[in-house]
Amino acid sequence: MLIHSLNLRNFRNHTEKALEWAPQFNILTGPNGVGKTNILDAIHLLCMSRSFVTTSDRVLPNQGENWFELGGTFESAARSKFSLKTFYSVNEGKTFFVNDSPLDRLTDLIGRVPVVVMCPEDRKLTAEGPLERRSFLDGLISQLSREYLQNLLLYRRIRRQRSTLLLQDALRGEMLRSALEPWNVQMADVGGKIIATRALVLEHFAGYLEQHFKALTQLSLRPNFTYKTFMPVQAGQSPSEISAQMLLALDAAFEKEQERRQSLIGPHRDELVFYLDQIELRKYGSQGQQRLFTIALKLAQAFYYQDQSEDRPILLMDDVFGNLDSEKIRTLVRILEEQGGQIFITHASGSALRSAADFSMKNSVWYEVSGPEVKNITQSTS
């Protein structure tokens, strides 16, 4: 997948910009706070329907404004060209357009343009709770499977209905049990499908992680993970079998759920634990190890997507190179060149990046960002 051009109006600090992109490296350098990340975020929002920087759309329009507009032209591996546009206003929210016709549902956008982000926030993946890792996993699979995404949304709705019942004071004991029953059946049905898909994808994904961690670090440590759900599952286990077990587990957890007033069984409580060899990364891994692990994780995601879909995702690398030694940077650039997809890189210092990595500027573009101005300096770098 390629993005050829990007237009920003009133997005963050960019009042009006039109940028052309190259098929391989797209490098943005310039001092902190000039809006490099905002350009990457604009691409993310256009393709994934939300910002990767903030959860509140309200802060995205330029100061003093209450709307923004983003547009881009794209080309998929199958050589089909299309355009995406989004318009946001504080009152009416976001509307997306594909080839100028409005999109009814935001979910129709997901997977159209695959994107993998690497950013400083990624440290949460290895440092914080299971929620971050579940959303990584859901992002990985949702981009490839619309059915999975639909199941996630359906599951969330069923769980909300069920939670409301658990919170009602008037419903206790047998009354609560029978009120929960119609929802349990569905929750187990959809939950089983989600868990089966997660187990299957993770089984494949493990090899990708190992390969890219090794390529990146040259370390002999083996990265791996365990997938924990409410029961032991094998990759390839049938969804209906897991659903049947989940229904039994829900039944058995009734007393506890009644007491805690929460849904305690199901994929919304799954955990993914990362290890280097036998060492649990979150508890005992060094900062450097954690950083390399997340980069390998995201590289693995990009390569996995590529193999599953025969298209390459757009890679957004926000301030990734700043925290790596020069050898790692060179290795990473080499891996990215081999991957061959379209890559966006931000870095504070142009000269430092130039001396650390030997980019072949063929099919690439280099912009120097200085607030209001974005200057193409590709010529002077090659």
Binding site: S145, L154, R160, Q161, R162, Q186
Partner: protein, 201 residues
């Protein structure tokens, strides 16, 4: 802002309360009405008054009707032992349009949704059980025709369970592929469901 016509403003406010109508649309409708001949606007007002005065809820199937019981519940030819359970009045209308079903209906008036405080007591469930129990008109089959979303499914499951002790067959309409559609354009979930509810050729 200075309002020069209180009546116009009041009309816009009332129209803006309607579903799918914002203030702008309400303004447009109000302006349109104002420019129409007097009698066509009076006719609309009268129609609206009649809507509330003459439309009743059928005491048997709970549908909207001018007569109580409604024409379908009154019609002896529609007594074939089947009752089709639908969520709302308009669902019954859609099924009726197909000419496929010759039995009677039961309108639930909603589906289970704890988030919106809708439990079995808020739906016309008791009256359905009464109909199943009515020896004067024996029921052999209950056909569940609810939407295949989370709430519709939960309600179907609930009714199925509730009806188990009775001597009545509970069926549901099939999930399938829309007529005139290519397989290519069907989403995975629908296609796999259609496979599971396939029928013998």
């Amino acid at each position: 802002m200075k309002v020069t016509s209180e009546s116009l403003e009041r009309t816009i406010e009332e129209l803006a309360k309607l579903p799918g109508t914002g203030r702008k649309s309400a303004q447009r409708i109000a302006m349109y009405l104002l420019k129409q001949p007097d009698d066509s606007v009076y006719r609309l007002a009268e129609t609206l008054q009649n809507l509330k005065r003459s439309v009743k809820t059928c005491c048997i199937c709970r549908t909207f009707s001018d007569e109580d019981p409604c024409a379908i519940c009154e019609n002896p030819k529609r007594q074939n032992g089947q009752i089709c359970v639908v969520e709302e009045f308009q669902d019954m209308y859609f099924i009726e349009r197909t000419d496929e079903f010759r039995g009677r209906y039961h309108v639930l008036g909603g589906v289970l949704s704890p988030m919106n405080n809708i439990g079995p007591d808020q739906l016309h469930v008791k009256s359905l059980i009464q109909r199943v129990n009515n020896p004067e008109e024996p029921v052999t089959e209950i056909i569940l025709a609810l939407n295949p979303d989370a709430e519709g499914e939960a309600t179907s499951f609930y009714l199925h369970k509730l009806l188990q002790p009775f001597e009545v067959q509970v069926t549901r309409i099939a999930y399938g592929i829309p007529v005139g559609t290519d397989l290519e354009y069907i989403d995975d979930a629908t296609l796999s469901r259609a496979f599971r509810s396939r029928s013998t050729f």
